[in-house]
């Protein structure tokens, strides 16, 4: 077994240590992404777009070109870039508020149009940057700043099932998966497949990442991992929901 490098090659050393809170899952998600970029050898082709939300803190994270966009608008920016120059590899990186609430129309339509981009959405069950409000992914009965008595399913519905939705609406060439920062090797594998799907010119690829937000969850290290591994996985199934390899089988 080879030892994983401490810091991916494409990470920008000058911007480390990164700006996320201690124990935040964003850093881990970006580590898995960095390793995927390194292993695919695509550092010269990647353009990384980050949303507004805690993902904006990644605006100088990598030694790749980066654009910070508006809340929810990273998917169209990267779509426009990729349409204009298909040689680039476009990554749209966003939170669950950005992707499933304010920018949900962009996610749905990019998926149905089979845009040849890779969208990565970090699910931390709340709006991190604005101080822990309820998100589309907030779990039933979970307390947040705007659901102080716990999320009511009657009033606000169920947590959004993103990769399942993308798998349902996207063409056979698309890729949809949900990984977790609790399984870095698997997450890196999902990222690699998602990027490879774009490189091959197949179509839209989407990876949701189950992540942590100890600051707003108000959890200690143990509580954080317990929430991620035990509570979140009750609603959010980890795995692949659509793989382009399944093309033939589905028809």
């Amino acid at each position: 077994m080879s030892v994983e490098p401490k810091m991916p090659k494409c990470w920008r050393k000058e911007s480390k240590p990164h700006k996320f809170c201690p124990g935040c899952g964003h850093g881990l998600a970006l580590k898995a992404l960095g390793m995927a970029i390194d292993e695919l050898g695509i550092q010269d082709k990647v353009v990384f777009g980050c949303d507004i939300g805690c993902s904006l803190l990644a605006w100088d994270f990598f030694d790749v070109d980066i654009v910070q966009t508006h809340h929810g608008r990273t998917t169209p920016v990267i779509t426009g870039l990729k349409r204009a120059n298909p040689d680039l590899i476009g990554i749209a990186y966003m939170g669950d508020g950005g992707g499933y609430a304010i920018g949900s129309q962009h996610l749905v339509n990019a998926a149905t149009r089979n845009e040849k981009i890779t969208a990565i959405l970090v699910n931390n069950t709340n709006y991190g940057m604005t101080g822990g409000q309820m998100a589309p992914t907030t779990l039933p009965n979970q307390k947040t700043e705007t659901s102080p008595y716990g999320r009511s399913i009657e009033e606000t519905g169920y947590p959004t099932q993103g990769p399942e939705m993308v798998a349902a609406i996207a063409r056979d060439e698309a890729y949809a998966a949900r990984g977790t920062v609790a399984n870095m090797r698997q997450l890196k594998g999902f990222f690699k497949k998602a990027l490879q799907n774009q490189i091959d010119g197949n179509g839209f690829s989407f990876v949701e990442v189950l992540s942590t937000c100890p600051t707003n969850w108000r959890t200690d290290a143990k509580g954080t991992w317990k929430y991620l591994e035990e509570e979140m996985t009750k609603f959010f199934k980890v795995g692949e929901f659509k793989t382009p390899a399944a093309k033939g089988e589905q028809s």
């Binding site: 030694d63 508006h70 920016v77 779509t79 129309q105 962009h106």
Partner: protein
Amino acid sequence: MIKNLLQGEKKVFMTGNEVIAWAAIAAKADIMYGYPITPQNEIMHYWTRMAPKAGKKFLQTEDELSAGFTTIGGVLAGKRAFTGTAGPGNTLMQEPVSMAEMMRLPMVIVIQQRGGPSTATVIYSQQETNLTCYGGNGEGLRVVYSTATHQDLFDYTIKAFNTAWKYRFPTFVLADGYQAKMRESLTMYDPKDRGIDMVPVEPILGKPGVPGIDRSPTHIRNTYNTEEELYDVIMSIAQDYEKFAPEIIEYDEQNINDAEIIIISHGVVSRAAYGAMLELREQGYKVGYFRPITLRPFPAKQLFNRARQAKMLIVVESALGQLAKLVKDAIYGCATPIENLSKPGVGIISEEIVERVKTLLKGGHFNVS
């Protein structure tokens, strides 16, 4: 096979939306992103017919937010990218434009004004003047060309790409439903035959080489941590805007040297204003005509100097005082009285302007010879 669709000079008779599609081809635009809204639709209709033949692209997006942000993506990839919209679409478009303003992204937007507020009419107005000049949560650091004729539509659509890429400010071509839909003759041309060089474009992101090894990575953002940091960014953008304004500003003035009354108008209304001015001159009134072509940056000094020599200004527009506000701001400190002919969402003909000027004179509030 990719064809050069526009060769030599060509006298044509067509609708304004068709003119814009042709002008974008002439300007070597690479890609259009758009969402349907009347009266802008035919820009997309003509573009999608011509674009594949000329090796160009189109994407129909899910809304105008996406049309604007995908246009930004196209610009970041180093392409002449543009979009077109109107009315409520222009409202949504202000979000991407504010990002372009902050990050100096050379996006081009064509606006075909329709009635407002809300859905209003799909026909015509000049009610998107405020929005187009100052929309978004910023300082209006964009260029706005207000066109009056189909020749303008052709000339200024080409110019918009050059202004955007030369100065790196989002640039609007502000027209309206009348110009969009009516047919008129004009001369189309290949800019290089007239000695107009297209300002070269280059990728902003995704330049050759491995970032961090062969070159520094390009990292661009619109979020800042401190008040001071933001202040420095805004002030440096504003300083550039001030510096370039004299090169960008355009206006037209006629019979102005001895004018006691100046009719001020923009866009298609200026054609009626010009007619009214000629008519009143014939009747012996000392009337002049002033038309800002750039509404941002506004020809403030130029108008101020003219306004002080006059005895009365009359601002004519198909909006309720939107141009008048720009005028008042531009000539602050000038004591010449300002009158209005404001018809929000409604067209204006020269006879109405003639009559209005005569009524004002008869009212005797002005001591005009």
